[in-house]
Amino acid sequence: MSTDNVFAALPDVDPRAQLRLRARLAASAADAGILDVAYRTLDTPVGTLLLAATERGLVRVAYASQDHDAVLTELADRVSPRVLEAPARLDVAAHEIEEYFAGRRQLFDLPLDLRLSSGFRRTVLDHLRDIGYGTTASYAAVAAAAGNPKAVRAVGTACAMNPLPVVVPCHRVVRSDGTMGQYAGGTDAKRALLALEAA
């Protein structure tokens, strides 16, 4: 009889045990202070969002079109490879985002970790947070507010590179002629968010 059969009775994969063990690992890693990046996904009207948080706060929101696997790899490279699916740390963020899409929340009250953005892009993000729910600002106006009126294209780049779309409202930045302009999550998502806020 082949030696391959010796372990035939021992399951190759035991899905229930893996679920249990992964939850236990996420909890004990958090307790030990070595859960550097926790993430989960959240189904929303604009598709499945990836939410990731460090111990400091929400560090990344990504649309499905941005490729969640690629985003996780980027987090591993830029923040820490200690990345685990660990929904508990994202409970509050997920809840607030759900309220936002249900039209019951206009402001996010969450600790944010903006370490993925620096320099002028970071300055732009700070100013985006001043554009209120249901209003818009032009790329030129944001450039002026950020202290560099000529940097209209750089504002566009900063919005495209926003690590926290939806929560840091780059969707509220539109072109001076009133047309929508580009968006990290695609123009359909931008249109949906602006329509939600206009309702």
Binding site: F7, A9, A17, I34, A76, R82, L84
Partner: protein, 158 residues
């Protein structure tokens, strides 16, 4: 570097089989959890290009030894063998037959059989993990498999 989650997905099931084969059903999940917590801690310092599977089995081996030692410290001679319920709720499943056969092997045989036949590590890697020469690891695994054939596979055919 891959996110650690990808490492858990890729190697979690194999490490669980190893833990089950070496420490048995009761302590396997503790050994698995300790292995991956330890691995998560050390992961950022892992050299690029390392054999991740062998690295994880090395950690699992240390955790398993801790459990086996703790078990033998707890063991008290008795006339009555208590019946232990399986943890997976499969009556007559692997934990009652295969584990009984594995448990009867000397630890070194159980380890070498698991690391070579279950994980597929070459004897050089198995020897690096359990100590001794590759040839000694090969002999221990061969003896272990022969004993399992006799005690478990033939028993299963009866």
């Amino acid at each position: 570097m891959k996110p650690f989650e990808a490492i858990v997905t890729e190697y979690g099931p194999t490490v669980l089989r190893v833990c089950r084969a070496v420490v048995g059903p009761a302590a396997a999940e503790d050994a698995w959890s300790e292995t991956f917590l330890s691995a998560l801690r050390a992961y950022p310092d892992l050299r690029p290009g390392s054999n991740i599977e062998a690295w994880l089995v090395t950690i699992a081996h240390r955790k398993a030894i801790d459990h086996v030692r703790a078990e033998s410290r707890r063991a008290v001679p008795t006339d009555h063998l208590p019946e232990r319920p399986g943890t997976d709720g499969v009556p007559g499943g692997w934990e009652s037959d295969l584990w009984m056969a594995l448990k009867a092997l000397p630890l070194k045989q159980r380890e070498t059989v698991a690391y070579h036949y279950l994980v597929g590590l070459p004897y050089a890697d198995v020897a690096a993990i359990v100590g001794g020469s590759p040839e000694a690891a090969r002999r221990a695994a061969a003896d272990g498999i022969a004993a399992l054939r006799k005690s478990y596979l033939q028993g299963a055919e009866r």
